[in-house]
Amino acid sequence: MTVRKSLGALLATSLLVPVTAFADYPERSIELVIPFGQGGGNDLVGRAFSQSLAEYSGVDVLPVNRTGGSGAVGFHAASSARPDGYTIAMINSSLVGNPHIINGFPASIDDFMPICLLSAEPVGIAVSASSDIETLEDWVSIAQEDPDRLALGYTSIGELIALSAGNVTDTDPTLIPYSGSGDSITAVIGGHVDGAVVSDAEAYSQVQADQLRMLTFFSDERSKSLPDVPTSAEEGYPLDIGLFRAIGAPAGLPEDVESYLIDACTQIAQDEAFVERMNRIGFNVQLRTGDDFKAWLTRQNEAFATAAGLLEQ
C-alpha cells in the first residue's frame, strides 16, 4: 500500500506544483534564450536585460546563446519550452521576417507571447563618406538611370527591407548578402559595395567617425541617435520597417506570469542604469507592452509580409 500511497502523493504534488509555482513566480532561476551569437546586438541587449531582471526578481537570470540557422535553433527551442515563465527569449525582427523568406522556418511570432518591446531601431541606407552619393534622391536617380550600377549589401532580413525600399523608390539595385552588419559595413567602407542596409545603432560609430554617410532611414520618425538624417517619408518615399529587440515567452503563458513579466519590463525600462547601459551599446530604450505591443508587432509583420510578396514576383 505504501507504494500506491507514495505514488498518489507524487501525483498530487505534481498536480500541485504548477499552481504553487505560478503563485510564487519566480522561485527559481529563469533562462533567457538568445538565438544569436555572443557580441551581437541581441546578445548585448539580452545580457543587459537579464542583469536587470535578476535584480528586479531576486532570482538568477541566465542568458543562454542557442545559435544557428538565422535564429531557427534558438527560436524553436524557446517556443517549444514549457510556458511556465522559466524560459523566456529575446525575440526580434528575424522572428517576424524569417518565416516569410526561409522555407520551413520552425517558429513564428504566433508561437510566442510578446512581453515587451525594448528597442526599435530605424534602418536605412548607408554609403561610404567618400561617395559622391549625398542624398536618397542621388541614390534613386543613379539607380533608375542604370539599374546595374549600384550594389546594396544587406544582412539576413535586411533583404526584405531592401526590397521594400526598392519598391517605394522604384529602384532595383543588385542585392548582395552578408553574414553580419559588421561585414557589410566593412564592404561599404572598403568600396566593394555602394551601400548597405544597416540600422542606426550599427552605423552610429562609423557615421560619427566620418567613414559612413546615412542617406535616409525608412521610418516614420527620425533616429534619436542620428537626428540629422532625414526619414524617407520626408523625401517623399513613406516606408516604416525596421529592426527591433523584444522579450517574449512561449505561447500559452499563464496570465499572472505574463503580468509579472510586463511589470518587470516596465520597471526595468525606467531604470536609469538599464537605460544608460542600453545607450552605451547603441540602443535607445523604447518600451511597448501588452496590447499596444501586440498591435505594433502585427503592423511590423504585415510590412514584412508585403516585402516578402515582392520577393516572389
Binding site: 555572443q38 557580441g39 542557442r66 533583404e159 543588385t174 542585392l175 560609430s205 560619427q208 567613414q211
Partner: protein
C-alpha cells in the same frame, strides 16, 4: 607616437594590473585548452566580469584572455592529440607525434616560443604598420577572400598523411557537411530533412572534438590493461639553439602570413595556420618529416595562429571593424565600457589605444612566462594512468561539445562522428581534411557567390590583380612539376648540343 607608446608601457608597470593580466592570461590558456570553449566564448563569458574595472584595465584583461586562449589550443593538441579549436588542427599534426615520441615537453616549449615570437612580432607590426595594413585589408573583397580560402584549401595535400586520394575524399566529405543548414546566400535550408536542429548546420566544434578525441580515446581503451603503463618521458622544454635557429625563417614567414590573414575580415586564425603550415611544408628542407613530428610544423602552425590573433586587432583598433569572431565580442565590450570603437578612438583616446598596443606586447611575454614552466607540468598529464585520464578527457569533450551552442544534440553528434572517426582511423583515412573542408567550404561558397554578384555574373572580372597573385600561389603545386620539367629541358639543351658539336 613614441612618447605615447612609452606612456602606454609605463601605465602597465602597475603591479596590480600586471597581476590581473597574469591571471587573465592563465584563464585564457585554460579556456583555449578546453576543447569546445573557443576564445570568443571565453571572452564573452569574461566580458561582464570586467565591467567593474576602468575601461583600460577591463579591456586589457579581455586581451589577455584572448591571446592566452589562442595559445592554449596547442596544449591539448600536443598532449592528447585533440585540437582545442580549428586553428590548432595543424599543431596536432606534428605536436602529437612528438609527444608520442617522448618529446611532449619540447613540443610544448616550441609551441610556446613560436606563439611568443608570432605574438610579439605581430604586436610590433600592429604598432608600426596598423594603418597601412588595415587599409590593405579593407581593399580586399570577396574575390580575394575566395582566393585566400582556396590557398588554405591546398593544405589538404599537406595534411593527408601519405594518401592524397584518401585526404581528398575526406576533404570533400567536409565540404559536403558544411552545406547542411541554411545556405549563406539565399538563406534556404539544405539537407535539413525538415529538422530545425539541422537548420543550424552540423556543429563544427562537435565534429572536431568527435573526430579527434573519440577515436583516440577508443584506440587507447583497446590497449588499456592492468599492466603498468610504460612511463612516458617528459623531455626538456627548451629547444637547442641550432634547432631554434633553423626555425627562425619559418617563424618570420608565418608571422607575416598570420598578421595579414588575421587582419583580413574574411579570414581568421584557422585559415592563417593552414596556409602557413602548407606553405611551410612546401618550402621546407624536411618536408617529408612534416606530419611525423617535425618541429618546423609546430613553428609554422603556432606562430601563424598567434600572429593572426594579434592581426585581428588591427582593423579593430584602427577602424572599429571586426577582424573575426573574437574581435566582434571585444567591440561589444568596448561599447559597454563607453568607448566607441572606430577611427575616432585613435583621435579621442590615443593614449588608451597605445596602452592597448603595449598590453598586447606585455601579454605575449606573460604567455612565455606561463607557457615555459607550464610545458613541463602539462606534459605530465601523459604520465597519469590512462584508466583515470581517458574518462576525464571524455567528460571534458562532452562539456566542450555542449558548451558552444548549449544544445544537447551536439553531444550526440560529437559521439556519432567519433565512432565514424574511429573507423576512419582504422581505414587510414586522414581526419584533418574533413575539418579543413568544413572550415573553408562556407567561406569559398559564399565569397564566390558574393564576388559574382558584385561583378554582375561576369566571370572574367572575378580575377583581380591581387587575387590573381594568390591564385597563382595556390595553384602552384599543380603547374610546378610542368614548370620544373620545362626548366630542366631548357637547361639540358646546351649540354646536349655541346656533346654533338
Amino acid at each position: 607616437m613614441f612618447e605615447l607608446l612609452i606612456q602606454g608601457f609605463a601605465s602597465l608597470l602597475d603591479p596590480i594590473l600586471l597581476l590581473l593580466l597574469v591571471g587573465a592570461v592563465a584563464i585564457g590558456i585554460v579556456v583555449g585548452a578546453m576543447p569546445g570553449i573557443s576564445p570568443s566564448l571565453g571572452v564573452a563569458i569574461a566580458s561582464p566580469l570586467t565591467f567593474v574595472f576602468d575601461p583600460f584595465t577591463g579591456i586589457s584583461c579581455l586581451l589577455g584572455i584572448y591571446i592566452g586562449a589562442v595559445f592554449g589550443g596547442s596544449i591539448p593538441a600536443t598532449v592528447i592529440g585533440i585540437p582545442g579549436s580549428a586553428m590548432a588542427v595543424t599543431t596536432v599534426f606534428d605536436g602529437y607525434p612528438m609527444g608520442r615520441k617522448g618529446q611532449a615537453g619540447l613540443a610544448l616549449g616550441l609551441s610556446t616560443i613560436s606563439s611568443f615570437i608570432g605574438g610579439v612580432l605581430a604586436s610590433l607590426i600592429l604598432i608600426v604598420l596598423a594603418y597601412p595594413i588595415s587599409q590593405f585589408a579593407l581593399s580586399l573583397g570577396p574575390r580575394e577572400y575566395c582566393a585566400i580560402a582556396v590557398l588554405a584549401l591546398m593544405a589538404v595535400a599537406s595534411l593527408s598523411g601519405g594518401s592524397f586520394l584518401k585526404g581528398a575524399i575526406a576533404c570533400l566529405l567536409g565540404l559536403f557537411l558544411a552545406t547542411v543548414g541554411l545556405d549563406e546566400i539565399n538563406g534556404q535550408p539544405r539537407f535539413t530533412m525538415g529538422l530545425p536542429y539541422l537548420m543550424g548546420g552540423i556543429p563544427f566544434i562537435a565534429v572536431i572534438i568527435g573526430l579527434f578525441a573519440i577515436p583516440e580515446i577508443m584506440q587507447r581503451f583497446e590497449r588499456i590493461s592492468h599492466r603498468t603503463q610504460p612511463i612516458v618521458q617528459v623531455s626538456k622544454v627548451l629547444p637547442s639553439w641550432p634547432l631554434l635557429r633553423r626555425l627562425i625563417p619559418a617563424q618570420l614567414r608565418s608571422t607575416g602570413i598570420g598578421t595579414i590573414v588575421g587582419a583580413i575580415p574574411g579570414a581568421g586564425a584557422d585559415v592563417a595556420s593552414l596556409i602557413s603550415y602548407s606553405q611551410g611544408r612546401n618550402l621546407s628542407k624536411y618536408r617529408e618529416r612534416f606530419g611525423s613530428g617535425e618541429p618546423e610544423g609546430i613553428a609554422c602552425s603556432e606562430t601563424a595562429n598567434s600572429a593572426s590573433g594579434v592581426g585581428a586587432l588591427i582593423p579593430l583598433l584602427t577602424l572599429g571593424l571586426p577582424g573575426g569572431a573574437v574581435t566582434a565580442v571585444i567591440i561589444g565590450s568596448f561599447m559597454i565600457h563607453g568607448l566607441q570603437p572606430g577611427p575616432l578612438l585613435m583621435r579621442d583616446h590615443a593614449p588608451l589605444v597605445y596602452q592597448f598596443f603595449a598590453t598586447t606586447v606585455i601579454v605575449n611575454f606573460i604567455v612565455l612566462l606561463i607557457g615555459l614552466p607550464g610545458a613541463k607540468l602539462f606534459s605530465r598529464a601523459l604520465q597519469v594512468k590512462e584508466s583515470i585520464l581517458l574518462p576525464i578527457i571524455l567528460l571534458i569533450c562532452i562539456i566542450g561539445a555542449y558548451a558552444l551552442r548549449n544544445n544537447p544534440w551536439d553531444i550526440l553528434v560529437m559521439l556519432g562522428v567519433g565512432v565514424f572517426g574511429y573507423y576512419m582511423a582504422k581505414a587510414g583515412i586522414p581526419r584533418a581534411p574533413i575539418v579543413i573542408g568544413m572550415t573553408l567550404g562556407p567561406i569559398i561558397e559564399s565569397e564566390i557567390a558574393r564576388g559574382l554578384l558584385i561583378t554582375r555574373g561576369n566571370y572574367l572580372d572575378f580575377i583581380t590583380p591581387i587575387s590573381a597573385v594568390i591564385w597563382a600561389i595556390a595553384l602552384l603545386p599543380l603547374y610546378w612539376p610542368l614548370l620544373r620539367l620545362a626548366f630542366r629541358r631548357i637547361k639540358a639543351r646546351p649540354t646536349y648540343q655541346n656533346k654533338h658539336t
